[in-house]
Symmetry: C2
Subunit: 608 residues, 2 copies
């Protein structure tokens, strides 16, 4: 029993909606013809009706107990926004060309986080397609789309979505998204969609009228908690499990990024995340497809990614923000908010060796112990980044790293991330040092809500009032100012940086020792007072080692032991990357004492 | 740093209290002398002061920020009730006589759940002691005390306690409890204390003034949730972990029964229950002691008892109410409330084979799927009962099973429970078919609260209004009527029932096949339409089998296969147990077709 309107073989459409507490439900088709169809309820509270010979793109509402009319919670499309009728979509009608597509293995993923509205001037799915060849050339092989579920208005990060099944109308709707995914597959990209299963947005959320989607048992930072373990949670789980399958089946997504799983409160003996993973795994096994579920989790809890037989939810991988925070604080010196928990290069060292810096360590910011030891989990179970929509956009002025640290430090950070054994994620524009901000922006229509969002933003940055007012999240200019300045990508240092990223990615994908994502085959030495890291990685056939000087001063460090001759593979100080020229030894090897310039990053390979 | 007043070697007393948000804390000793001592704060928000030459039983309060004076959250004794000063207790002064005590292994436990206030006319710790020999004679080896933490007034089940470290004054206080535990050990009983770590009672709770003990993140059925994962939860965890160690160390408890762990909300990567178990295990290993933690859990979640390396909290064992509900509904035909989820003898069969009847099965009462598969866990990880304070006391009229089912059915139920491989728990008086009720009772002093409790009770039983008003929980008579009629224990059928229980326990503890708590060495056959169970259990050297007819009619069932000659070990129909005389075959064996009388229970052993 699939939710929403479904085309059945005979050219008929079956509508299914969950409304267990309603006494009477009717389907009101409002166009192209106007007609009302009474629906039948089953024991689980699902209502159905089958309508003959309906067009795709017919508009409809559900009439609840003979009174109010509301869009479909599982609406596949909201052509006129969140408050207007839903539209039918015949998913089978799309002409996919990706029959032979197989995504790369997770261990090979290089993820590019992309916000459709600001990636291009047009801000549409279609306008992403012409840029794919350049991303492929860079070495990216996975596109992660910020949420595209229908949100109010046409400007939003995506986390205010209220129709989890409907691709945003202003981005190009269902057809546009399918065309983008199809094009991605043609160009060799896996596509991951960010989905939000922990809350619904504040405007256009009509779910309360249908069923007990929410519970008062828990509070989330964004209002009412979705009901995953209270009475009647079965329909809520089904709604989101079918949602996951919907994106995987009807949109050919290769994976889903689950937003803020720490706000999915669930005490049951089979938590929702575990059930979701079971159902997705069962489905993908039937389809002979690889599907990756990525959790965004603020829990630092290995339970999320542990296998089910070891008491875990079984998700394939999860974001690990500790790496970001550690690198960011060392390079920027910032200590506000959650950065207060990160001190110095030892945290970068720990993030590289153990994944979680906070593994049941006391967090001053959280005022509690936090996290669990993650070293038991393979590195591919952690997605790391130097920037992402949150870390950039949740700053008052939305500054990217390019505005916060020197050019050489950007290259250093890229080297450390890309030549680590974790799955790297690049925030759109990061690869060429984009300098436009990425602000927080919305386009609500409710005046009270707009004020609340504005005030919330102001309060959030009250401590920074001396720096001025945060940009107005509701203003169209705030959104416009957040768009990439794509044309700058090949100019001056931008072009050099992009070429450097390309070369780092190429090395990651070709050197056996870098392709081998293993903690065991890695040794890191940390010189605390010098702020220098040395990382050696190896396989039976290959040994590489990189040096990274996180300090703004030149540093010299002595290595205990040298083994053999080494060849330079990449050096951030070299000319092609707009570097100042390297002070390191030439290709014949490196000395016992290594002298590194400020922020210098250099990779060597042992001569065999 | 031990909470509360602690005697240190030099005859001085150090007072420690957690009050991280207070600017100033003073110890006010109110008797025997009146003196105020300023306290010093450490980095974690703990305040301390050491006072010389203080008597045991000195009275004291803490003065908060120079204003209000409150009893100690870790008060060892509240001689004048919940609102008055705390009293010091020198735990080292008690003359323990149990140096050689070693509790029986968990697998051998026969637990007796005992409410001190109603077990005897006196309702004190001391008055329990003279009855211990009779319980030992019955075969009981573990006493589980309902909570004794100081509650308001002198009548309470114990779940309104507000001083988790203080033994109830009206029961005899710290000295009385120690004397009882010491006597229990002398008589061969392990002692388990019921402790409440999920909420505090509504009257006399002064914890808010000290520290963030509570969080608004979650709701419990009993009000504010304790803070186990929010900011500053470290002090809350420490408070309860030290509480556990306090009962184990200063009162020589052999185990703790953790009340309603499903209301301990905790999303952290190391949940409180796991940390508690780690700390208790570390401590007991140092002491070379066996300590058992028993969870009461409404989650049917094996995570509670799974080992830590398999993602569990690691608790030794937990209550499994499904066995109770299955047996109760089959014998009484009741279908109200949670009994709606239990249907027929198949649920008894499942409870015996798999422990949890609800192992991710849909619960009509809960309106959701519930539970996890437990068959991976050994049977000693489940404590089962036919009655307990909740199942009896939460009935409007507090009826015990003796008032609800025929005499023969009581014997049947006892046989099934005691000859199962689970840990049996007997509710005080059950062993002789006590007929007095066990009501819900309180003795609050706040008029508003008393009304609220009365009204709550009435609302709870609104559906049963046709049966009359529930007894007034605040009335002294309600409490008095709940006391055991101990003198009836040897009269008529009471005496026969008690002798029958004694014999069942003896058989459980002596037959190798019954002592061996294993699912693998057990086979159960269920005749659904006849309501008959057959259970065979074995070891290499012993084979036993019991028949249980849950039907009020005679039933005949055919066994597929007979092997050898069988000897009757016990038959509920026999004369000594006031039975009607057995219709089963005599000692030479049982026939291929077995004819059982209504509720007949019979155990056989194979002749070797």
């Amino acid at each position: 029993m699939t939710l929403g309107p479904q085309w059945i073989s005979s050219g008929q459409v079956t509508f299914t909606v969950w409304a267990p507490l309603r006494e009477r439900m009717e389907l009101h088709v409002v166009s192209p013809r106007d007609a009302v169809y009474p629906m039948d309820k089953n024991e689980q509270g699902y209502w159905q009706v089958t309508v003959a010979a309906l067009d795709a793109d017919a508009r409809y509402l559900y009439r609840l107990d003979g009174g109010e009319e509301r869009p479909d919670p599982a609406s596949p499309y909201q052509p006129d926004g969140v408050h207007k009728p839903s539209a039918t979509v015949n998913h089978a009608a799309f002409a996919w060309t990706d029959a032979d597509w197989r995504p790369p293995a997770l261990a090979d993923w290089i993820i590019y986080e992309l916000h459709v509205g600001t990636f291009t001037a047009e801000g549409t799915f279609a306008s992403v397609i012409p840029r794919l060849p350049e991303l492929r050339d860079l070495g990216i092989n996975t596109i992660e789309l910020l949420p595209v579920a229908q949100f109010p208005g046409d400007r939003n990060w995506g986390y205010d979505g209220v129709y989890p099944y409907a691709a945003q109308n202003s981005y190009g709707g269902p057809h546009g998204l399918k065309a983008l995914v199809d094009a991605c597959h043609k160009e060799g990209f896996a596509v991951v969609l960010d989905v939000v299963y922990n809350h619904l947005g504040p405007e256009g959320n009509y779910l309360h009228g249908y069923a007990p989607y929410f519970t008062r048992k828990y509070h989330t930072p964004w209002g009412e908690a979705l009901n995953f373990d209270d009475a009647d949670n079965g329909g809520v789980r089904e709604y989101f499990i079918q949602n996951a399958l919907h994106w995987l089946r009807d949109y050919h997504m290769d994976g889903l990024r689950l937003d803020a799983v720490h706000a999915i409160f669930d005490q049951s003996a089979k938590p929702f995340l575990q059930e979701l993973h079971e159902k997705v795994t069962d489905w993908s096994a039937q389809q002979d497809r690889q599907v990756i579920l990525i959790a965004e989790s603020d829990l630092n809890d290995v339970r999320v990614i542990r296998s089910r037989d070891r008491g875990g939810f079984g998700l394939e991988t999860q974001w690990s923000d500790d790496f970001h925070h550690a690198v960011h604080t060392v390079l920027t010196g910032e200590r506000d908010g959650y950065y207060a928990d990160f001190r110095d290069i030892r945290d970068v060292h720990k993030a590289l060796t153990d994944s979680f810096v906070y593994d049941w360590r006391y967090s001053v910011h959280r005022r509690r112990y936090h996290g669990s030891r993650a070293a038991e989990c393979p590195p591919e179970q952690f997605v790391i980044s130097l920037q992402n929509h949150d870390q950039v956009g949740n700053r008052m002025f939305g500054e990217r790293l390019s505005k916060l640290v020197p050019f050489e430090a950007q290259k250093l950070a890229a080297g450390v991330m890309l030549l680590s054994p974790y799955i790297p994620m690049i925030f759109m524009g990061e690869e060429y040092g984009e300098e436009t901000p990425f602000y927080y922006f919305v386009s609500h229509s409710d005046a009270g809500l707009i004020d609340a969002v504005r005030n919330g933003r102001r309060e959030e940055f009250a401590a920074f009032q001396w720096r001025g007012e945060p940009p107005d999240p509701q203003a169209a200019e705030t959104f416009a100012a957040s768009k990439l300045n794509w044309e700058s990508r090949d100019t001056g240092r931008h072009g050099a940086l992009r070429a450097y990223w390309r070369e780092l990615i190429r090395l990651r994908r070709t050197c056996p020792a870098l392709k081998n994502l293993s903690r065991e085959n890695m040794k890191i030495v940390c010189w605390e007072s010098e702020n220098v890291l040395y990382c050696k990685r190896w396989t039976d056939s290959d040994v590489v080692a990189w040096f990274a000087n996180f300090s703004p001063q030149p540093q010299s460090v002595a290595l205990d032991r040298r083994d053999g001759q080494w060849v330079s593979l990449i050096d951030s100080y070299h000319g092609p990357w707009s570097g100042p020229g390297s002070s390191l030894n030439n290709e014949t090897g490196f000395a016992e004492t290594i002298s590194l310039g400020p922020y210098q990053f250099a990779l060597y390979q042992r001569k065999l």
